[in-house]
Structure formats: structure tokens, C-alpha cells
């Protein structure tokens, strides 16, 4: 049994998570040889630290539970990424920094120390990313890991949800430096495509980014913002949104307004969670496993 298979077995035994495969091309080649370069990372999203409301009676306890769940994974991930809305928005700059300080202290409890952050509109749109940058660094950047080129795009520091000409040129320049068959993973907060603009689930100039990315054949996008798992293709590009760690939102167009899904005392933390992404760079293949904040406990109430 390869390490990949063993990890899948352990993980699924532990959590009963749902697996979604994102393969740009069918699996091929020697699976054992490919496994030597395989790795996995964890995506957490939409923590909204500082939120208070009946939508989550355990608002200050949910992130610690998720961190404990990540720390308890049978094998540690290579890295962890938070895809935005680390904090719930506040118009008070002092309070914003207080929330970021508290969030950062929580995140330091993660055993894995390779942790990356990107902003959401709640973190960055009211001050164009100033506080976020003070705590977490650049709002857009790239990094490489075991044969995959990762690109973080900032579609929230502009309150109008635009990437902007300058960032789009930066993206195009970065892609030019990559080989034609580069494995590219994009992290961003808002969907780059028009998922449901009626609820502001879009990026104003996201189609331009998709056009640029479409010049490459191995591109996958992971994002947050919509507080639920969602999978969509634009041409060859797969887009996968993640669950929130504060409150779920309804499926697009499923009700008149995007009001949060009510907390269910019979099923606490339902609809909340995080994901593992098992990357198999040689095959440009990604297995996505959605995991709950905590294992379902029969008869549990909050």
C-alpha cells in the first residue's frame, strides 16, 4: 500500500470525509513512481474571527476545534492555507487589528508551521489590505512546492472586487516564466467566474484572469467566499470553493437572499469544515477530501 493510499484509508476511517477528484487528465504512468512526489495541503477558509450571532453559538470555539482536527490528522500536510476572511469585518481599525492578533495567535497553535494566508473582503476591503499586510504580508504572491506553481491572487483589496490591470499584467508575466506544461494552482478568495453575481459571488474582472490562465492546460483554482463546497469548470480550469468555519451560506439562487443557513442544534457545525487536497503533480491530479470541524457525535447538542 503506498503512502497515499494509506493516508486515504486512515483519513476516511477517521472522518468519513467526502472525496472529490479534480483530474485535468486521466491518471496514467507508474503510480508508485508518481507517489514519490505527491503531497497534500489543507485549505481552511472564511473563519470570520470576531463574528457574533445565532448562526454560530460557538463562534469562538469553532476555529480551535478545526485547528485541533488539523493537528490530529494522521499525517501532517506539507502546508496549510487560509483562503480569506480570516476575520469578520469591522469599520474600527483598532478592532480589526485586535481580531487579526487573536486570529494569528490561534493559527500559531497549528503544528504545521508552513502556513499561508490570503485576504478576504472582510479583512482587506475597508483599508485596501493595509492591516492584513501588517500581519500576514503580501496580498498576492507566488510560491513553488514539489513541482506545482502556486499563485495567490488578490481580488478583495479593491472594494469593487477587481483584480486590476496591474495585477493582471503581473499574472500574465508570471505565467510566461512557467514552462508550458506547468502544474498551476491558484488560490483566491472570491470566485473568478460569475458564480452568482446577484449575491456578489463574482470578481468584476475575473473573466480576464480566467482568459490569461486558460492559456495553460494544467490550472486549478481553490477559493472561498461562498461558505460551501462548490465545483465548476470554465474551459479546462476547475474551480473549487471551500466550506466556512463560521456559518454556511445557502446554495446559489436557492432562496431570495443570501442569508446564512441557520444553526441546527441537532447537528452542530453542520456545513462547516475544511479540506485536504492531495496533489499528484505528475498526473496533474488533485483529490479533494472535505472534512467536518469535528466528528459527528450521536445525540450531541451544544
Amino acid at each position: 500500500m503506498s503512502s497515499l493510499q494509506r493516508r486515504d484509508f486512515l483519513r476516511l476511517s477517521a472522518y468519513g470525509g467526502a472525496v472529490f477528484a479534480s483530474a485535468l487528465y486521466p491518471l496514467s504512468g507508474d503510480a508508485n513512481a508518481a507517489a514519490s512526489d505527491d503531497f497534500y495541503f489543507v485549505q481552511l477558509s472564511d473563519v470570520h474571527w470576531g463574528f457574533e450571532g445565532p448562526e454560530n453559538p460557538d463562534a469562538r470555539g469553532t476555529l480551535p476545534k478545526a485547528i485541533a482536527a488539523v493537528n490530529a490528522l494522521p499525517e501532517p500536510p506539507d502546508f496549510i492555507i487560509f483562503t480569506g476572511d480570516l476575520t469578520h469585518t469591522t469599520e474600527n481599525p483598532v478592532e480589526r487589528r485586535k481580531r487579526m492578533t487573536e486570529f494569528q495567535a490561534m493559527a500559531r497553535e497549528l503544528k504545521v508551521k508552513n502556513v499561508r494566508y490570503i485576504p478576504g473582503e472582510h479583512d482587506a476591503s475597508l483599508d485596501r489590505g493595509k492591516a492584513f499586510s501588517e500581519f500576514f504580508g503580501e496580498t498576492r504572491y507566488t510560491f513553488d512546492h514539489k513541482g506545482v506553481h502556486f499563485i495567490v491572487l488578490d481580488n478583495v483589496s479593491d472594494p469593487a472586487a477587481r483584480l486590476g490591470d496591474e495585477q493582471l499584467a503581473w499574472l500574465a508575466d508570471d505565467l510566461k516564466k512557467q514552462p508550458e506544461d506547468a502544474r498551476i494552482v491558484v488560490f483566491t478568495h472570491r470566485p473568478l467566474f460569475d458564480l452568482y453575481p446577484q449575491w456578489d459571488w463574482a470578481t468584476r474582472d475575473g473573466a480576464r484572469a480566467v482568459d490569461v490562465l486558460s492559456t495553460r492546460k494544467n490550472v486549478v483554482v481553490f477559493y472561498g467566499h461562498i461558505h460551501q463546497e462548490h465545483h465548476h469548470m470554465t474551459g479546462n480550469i476547475a474551480h473549487h470553493s471551500a466550506m466556512s468555519l463560521m456559518f454556511p451560506l445557502p446554495a446559489p439562487a436557492s432562496q431570495p437572499k443570501r442569508t446564512p443557513v441557520a444553526w441546527d442544534p441537532a447537528k452542530p457545525y453542520k456545513g462547516l469544515g475544511f479540506r485536504e487536497v492531495e496533489a499528484q503533480p505528475k498526473q496533474a491530479h488533485y483529490d479533494i477530501t472535505e472534512l467536518p470541524v469535528q466528528k459527528e457525535q450521536k445525540g450531541s447538542t451544544t
Binding site: T90, E91, P197, P256
Partner: protein
Amino acid sequence: MKRMHLNRRTLIAAASASLLSGVGVVAIAKPKERVVKVIARKFVFVPDTIKVKKGETIVLQITAPEVPMGFNLPDFNTRGDIVPGKTTTVKFTADKVGTFAFVCDIFCGDGHENMQGAIVVTEK
């Protein structure tokens, strides 16, 4: 050939005369426009529900007294930026029946996500 030229000239002259006199001309009525004033304030559109008859052309005159806001009505492919001190005009013709959401698409503060509304279009 000469007769045909004459006929054509005659027809053109007759048509011109008809246009001048109004006889036999179908009037193309300019679509009726209705102005609706909307205020985008923290964190609500006033009004947040606008009732419209199918076929009406609506001119929204939107103001934002506090901070910059956005008005996006995707189902009618129209939007506008609203800057304090100015009136933004957004125009659309209600060519379909239903309830169509509009939203503020510029992050405007801690109640931004409540800034939603609807255009309700009914048959005439």
C-alpha cells in the same frame, strides 16, 4: 423603363407626403420611462423592492449619502458606481416577468452583505 422611373418617383413622393401629413403612418411610440429615486445608505437600499410592469423602462436615480456604493442588477445586465454627492442613473427595460435581485457590489462596511433588494416585474 421610363414608366418604372416615374412610378418609383411617384411612390417616393407619395410616401413623403404621407409622412408630412401623418396619414397612413404608424407612429412609433417612445417607450415610457419611469423615474424611481433610490437611496443607498448604510446598509439598505431605500426602497429595497421596486415593483415594475413588464415593458416599462425604469430609470433609477441613485444616491449614496454616506460612502461609495455599487448597484448591480445582473439579470438586466446593468450596474453603476454611486459616489456621495452625485446621482447615478441606471436604466433598464423590464422585458421579463419575475423577481430579480440587485446588490451592492462595492464593499461598503460591516453591514455590506445586507445590502440587497429586488425588482419585481409583473405582467401588465
